[in-house]
Structures are given as structure tokens and as C-alpha cells.
Amino acid sequence: MTATLPLAGRGRRFVATLIDAILVPVVAILLMLVTGVLEHASDWSESAMPFARMFGLGLASYILLNLWLLWSRGQTLGKAIMGIAIVLAKTGVKAPLWRLFIRGLFFPTLYLIVLVPFIALIPAIDQVLIFRRDRRCIHDWVCGTAVVRRDGAA
């Protein structure tokens, strides 16, 4: 497994995730400001599905921030800043985009830890698995990925 590249440290992964978790809502708020999709009363009506709009803003923000980096280098912005990348666990090569997309679906669950404490256990368990020896969380196992140091440093 990832024989050629060392696994990313837990600290780097935590900081990278923290950067992403902060940047995505910031960009989502800017998108909300520019597009005005939640600015008017009609946007908050039941039929307008305001919570779907909020999710859509978050998704658009995530894609805007990360799509090119994920496609070209297997990195989110946070991971790029921290010098780590997502690779296929078995081969160590850059993970294909469709796997990264599935992996990205786990990202919004991070906010559940803060926003919905009652069901926080589910994403919390996902994150806690970082303390396994192979440092692979549930989302890594589902997508067959691992996170490695891109500069090859130990």
C-alpha cells in the first residue's frame, strides 16, 4: 500500500481539513451574496426548498474551490496548502475523479459534528479512524484511497 509515498501525518490532515471546512462556507457566503439565491422572501418559501439551496451553495463552493486541484493533483485547497494528496491506496497513483467525488460526499458530514450533535457520532467515528495505523478513515476505505505526503518527506 502506497509503497512509494509516506502517509500524511495526522496533524497535517487535520489542518488541511480545517482549512477546507472554513473556506467552503466562506466561499458559499460570497456565492450567496453575489447570486442572491437566499436573499428574498420567495427563496425561503416551502416550495423553494431553502435547505436544498443552502446545500447547493455549499456544493458549488466546494467544486469551485477544489475541482481543478482534485482533477489535476488529487488535492483540495487545504491539502495543497499542507502538501498532501489523495492517492489510490493500492497503487499510490492519483485517484480518479469519480472516486474523489464519492469521497467528497463525506465532507458535508463534518459540519454535522458541530451543527447536529445528536447524530455527530457517525462523522465522528469516520474521523476517529485516522488513529488506525494505516491512517485511513471510513471515507478512505469506501473510496479505496489514502492520503500521502506529496513532497515525499517522511
Partner: protein, 529 residues
């Protein structure tokens, strides 16, 4: 064989999970011959005077808690309807329940997860009784078969407000229902990226057969326009607000619907906020409007910070008419429209043209009252009863000393008759002695529930305290097996019906003590000699 095993497993799971009727249930049809009330205010004039009660000053001392029903919310906000053998109660999160009046067991449940926020109303046509209630938000109107709890129809809120809130209880007259309209926009404004504000309160009439709109009267006739921007992109709009929080009042003789409005949400303000409206019941056309406070603009963004981009500047005092006006007959033969305001002011108006006959300052007032949910009258005694909250509302508290308590005035002149001043019983923790909840009057007494969890009965003539009950406690044994907790009395307040007094205890919306206890008090059976 596999099917048999699966069937046995399914039956066991169903039984264990409560999917079958529990022992407390008593599936049965409710009696629908007599109703203790016809409106939120007992009658269409919103007198909150209940003649159909045997509870009196002479026997109120014998009133005992008979049973408790554990509601599914800590902030109950529905007012029950009582027949000869059944209590229909809104149990937010569970549904509309029909409870046996004597035992409290459940006859039927209209399972419904919405936020039932109104009194339960009724109408019988061609021998078929229908119950009506509204969800606050998402705002929907419901008509339910009273016999078995099946849905007749449901309909979205009338009017043109995409975020309408159905908070005030409607009023039924014949085949139509007058529906007060408020808005969640007062809360949406806390989002600084929300373009505050564009919606108007109002009143609508709907057809009781299917809920379709007959007419709609905006409390702000003008359509909103963009009046500014912040953060470069976010549009600020006005006029807006003037919501109708309380039930309408109806004068059958003149065919007039009366209702009060709240403040504007943005500036510039209008001449229709903090006002009493009189409109034609046939088409909603305005007969007169009397505004009591100009330039009152406020929304909940101001609670976060006065500097919030959506907080109107200058910030108004938020002085709604939350309580409905009472159409009261004075002993001198005149009829007055008496309106109590969150400012603590009470106004008696001529219902024909809205001119002021008399005014009284009952409390110091504030954003949570003053007069908050509802007053009552006893026309035989010529008395108006005014509950005063005067709870501390931070920056939006009125000037001067609090006057929490119950005050009686002469209906005709506003002359003070007696007062029952309440003092804090728990100075070491946040609890107010104020009377925010609506009150109810019987032939010779008045019932009021306080924010500090006490229920009191006062002599109507003198204001003497006759009976008191402290609901600030736990109720582990309830008729439906759901543990209950008592708390602040707020919102719709107590209901008198025959030998019973029914009230929900607990209300956590504004930091008071929440609770989920539907309390049913009853006189003991009369002893035969």
C-alpha cells in the same frame, strides 16, 4: 414457512414497538352535541367570558387536578376545544388528539408532525362536524373530521406572502373563516445577507368547504420597493411588516372584522402598523384604521446588534397589538372596541369610526407586553380585566416600574376598579411574575396563569385571590404515559368548560421555563344529601 416466520417476527416487532393501540387508548367517537366555545375568545367578540362553567367563587377552592396529558413539545401553543365528553387538543409534533374528558384516554389522533399553533375551531353543517386548526410554519390550514380524526382538506396559507406565518387563531362565521396573517420575515432578517423586508401582514377570508381564498386584505397596501443596499449586492426593501398576530374580532350586526397589527420590519414605515383595522367582512374593504404608534420599525436582527445591516435605524419599540380587540357591551348601553397593546396601554374605541373613548396605562409595557396575549370582560359586572406582563425585554422594555399583575377597569369609562399586583417569587433565578398569557373570566371569577408558573383564580368583583396552583413541577404520571413538566404559563392561557379548567403549562420561546403538561382541573362531583 419463511412467510410464517416473517409474519410472527413482524407481529412481535409491531407489538413491542407500540404499533398497536396502547392500554390507555380508548378508540371511540367523541360527543359533538355541545361545544364550550365557538372561538379563541370563547365568542366572536373575543370577550373571553365563559358562561358555560360551574366553577365559581364559592366552589373554586375545591378545584383539583384531575389528570395530566404529556404533550410532545416544550412550548405548547394550542388552545383546546371541549364538547360534552371530549377535549380536542393540539399536540404539536404528535397531532390533533381527541381525549376523553373524564379519563384523558385518547379517542383518536390525527397524526401530524406540524406546529399546531392555534385554537381548535369547529363547524357543523348537515350533521357533519369539522374541526379546523392551522400550523404556524410551514403555514397550512387543516380541516379534520371531528368524528374520527380523518383529514377533510388541507390548504396553504391564503394571501401573497411566500413566508406567511399562521400564528393567530382564525374566526369562523357561517361558511367562511377569517385568517390572520403574519410572517417569518421578522426572523429571516437575522441573516445579514437577507434583503429585508418585503412581506405584509393581513387578513384573509377562506371558504370552509375547501380552504380556497375568498378575499385578502394586506395591512400594507403599497407593494415593497428597493430602498437601499448593503454589502454592495443585498437589496433593502420597504414598506414591510404590520403582521396580524392575534385573532380577529367580529361584529355580526355591522358585518365588520376588527384586528390589530404589529410594527413595520423596515423603513420607511407605514400608517398601518401598530394599528387597529376595521374591515368589511364581505370583501375585506377597509372601514377605518386607527394607528397608535408611528415609526415603529423593528425585526429580530436588532436583537443581535443595533448595528446589524437589517436592523432598522432608528430602532422602534416593537409595540404590536398581540391581543385581539374585545367588542364589549358597556352597562350604559354603548358598545366599545377595547384593545390592549404591548405598550401597556389599553384603548377603548368607538367601533363605528375608531375614535378613542378612553385610554389607560395598565403597565410599563415592552416588546413582550404590557398586554401580550389577551384580556377578558364580564359585561354583567361592567368590568374589563387586563393582564399585564411587564417582563424585562432588554432594550425593548418600557419606561418606569413594572406593574405585573391583573387590573380591573370599568368598561364604560376605564375607571380602575381593583388591582392584583404580583411580585417575583424567585428573585434568584430568571422568572417573571408577569401575566403574559391570555386570561379567562367566569360569571364571578377570573383565571390567570403567570410566567412564574402559578395559576390563580381571583374574585371578579374584588380581585381577591381565591385559589392558586403552582404548576412549576414534574408530572411523572400522565394519562398517555409521557412524562410531563410544568413551566411558565403563556400564550393562549386557561379554558373554562363546565366543571373543568384546562390549561397547558410551559412555554420556552422567550427564555421562560418550558414545559409540556396539559393540565385538567375539575370540581369534585356534587354530593347528594
Amino acid at each position: 414457512m419463511r412467510k410464517t416466520v416473517a409474519g410472527i417476527i413482524a407481529a412481535v416487532v409491531l407489538a413491542l414497538s407500540g404499533g398497536v393501540a396502547s392500554a390507555a387508548d380508548c378508540p371511540s367517537r367523541p360527543g359533538l352535541k355541545t361545544f364550550a366555545s365557538d372561538a379563541w375568545g370563547i365568542d366572536a367578540r373575543n370577550t373571553r367570558f365563559q358562561p358555560k362553567t360551574t366553577i365559581s367563587a364559592a366552589n373554586v377552592g375545591q378545584l383539583r387536578l384531575e389528570w395530566v396529558y404529556g404533550l410532545s413539545t416544550d412550548t405548547p401553543r394550542s388552545y383546546p376545544l371541549v364538547t360534552e365528553d371530549t377535549i380536542f387538543a393540539g399536540d404539536q409534533g404528535n397531532g390533533l388528539v381527541a381525549l376523553n374528558r373524564k379519563s384523558g384516554c385518547t379517542r383518536w389522533t390525527f397524526a401530524h408532525g406540524g406546529a399546531i399553533g392555534t385554537a381548535i375551531l369547529h363547524q357543523t353543517q348537515r350533521g357533519r362536524t369539522t374541526l379546523f386548526f392551522n400550523d404556524r410554519y410551514p403555514s397550512h390550514m387543516f380541516a379534520v373530521n371531528a368524528a374520527d380524526g380523518t383529514l377533510r382538506w388541507q390548504h396553504a396559507a391564503p394571501g401573497d406572502n411566500p413566508v406567511a406565518m399562521l400564528s393567530g387563531t382564525p374566526l369562523i362565521d357561517g361558511g367562511r373563516m377569517f385568517v390572520p396573517l403574519s410572517s417569518i420575515e421578522v426572523g429571516l432578517a437575522v441573516n445579514p445577507f437577507y434583503g429585508c423586508c418585503t412581506t405584509s401582514g393581513g387578513m384573509a377570508a377562506v371558504d370552509l368547504r375547501d380552504g380556497h381564498q375568498l378575499w385578502h386584505r394586506r395591512s400594507i397596501p403599497a407593494q415593497p420597493k428597493v430602498v437601499g443596499h448593503h454589502f454592495l449586492f443585498v437589496e433593502e426593501s420597504a414598506p414591510s411588516g404590520a403582521p396580524v398576530w392575534g385573532p380577529p374580532t367580529y361584529d355580526a350586526a355591522s358585518g365588520t372584522v376588527f384586528f390589530g397589527t404589529g410594527q413595520n420590519y423596515s423603513r420607511p414605515t407605514t400608517a398601518t402598523s401598530d394599528s387597529i383595522f376595521a374591515v368589511n367582512a364581505q370583501d375585506g374593504s377597509v372601514r377605518w384604521i386607527h394607528q397608535f404608534h408611528q415609526n415603529d420599525a423593528y425585526n429580530t436582527a436588532c436583537d443581535l446588534s443595533a448595528g446589524h445591516p437589517n436592523c432598522p435605524k432608528p430602532t422602534g419599540p416593537d409595540l404590536d397589538f398581540g391581543a385581539p380587540p374585545i367588542l364589549a357591551h358597556a352597562q350604559d348601553g354603548h358598545t366599545l372596541l377595547i384593545a390592549g397593546e404591548k405598550s401597556g396601554m389599553v384603548y377603548a374605541l368607538d367601533p363605528h369610526d375608531g375614535h378613542i373613548v378612553w385610554t389607560r396605562q395598565a403597565g410599563r409595557g415592552g416588546a413582550l407586553g404590557g398586554v401580550h396575549w389577551g384580556m377578558a370582560v364580564n359585561e354583567a359586572l361592567g368590568l374589563l380585566f387586563v393582564p399585564v406582563s411587564d417582563v424585562d425585554a432588554g432594550r425593548l422594555t418600557g419606561q418606569g416600574q413594572a406593574h405585573a399583575g391583573l387590573y380591573a377597569y370599568d368598561i364604560a369609562t376605564g375607571t380602575p376598579r381593583w388591582s392584583h399586583v404580583r411580585t417575583a417569587r424567585c428573585p434568584d433565578r430568571p422568572c417573571s411574575p408577569g401575566l403574559s398569557a391570555a386570561i379567562i373570566a367566569g360569571p364571578d371569577l377570573v383565571f390567570a396563569g403567570s410566567l412564574d408558573g402559578k395559576l390563580e383564580a381571583l374574585d371578579a368583583k374584588s380581585g381577591k385571590l381565591l385559589w392558586s396552583y403552582d404548576a412549576w413541577r414534574d408530572y411523572p404520571n400522565t394519562v398517555n404515559g409521557k412524562a410531563a413538566k410544568g413551566g411558565a404559563f403563556d400564550a393562549h392561557g386557561p379554558l373554562l368548560a363546565g366543571d373543568q379548567m384546562i390549561v397547558s403549562s410551559g412555554y420556552g420561546t422567550f427564555g421562560e421555563r418550558g414545559g409540556n403538561a396539559l393540565l385538567v382541573f375539575e370540581l369534585p362531583p356534587e354530593k347528594t344529601p
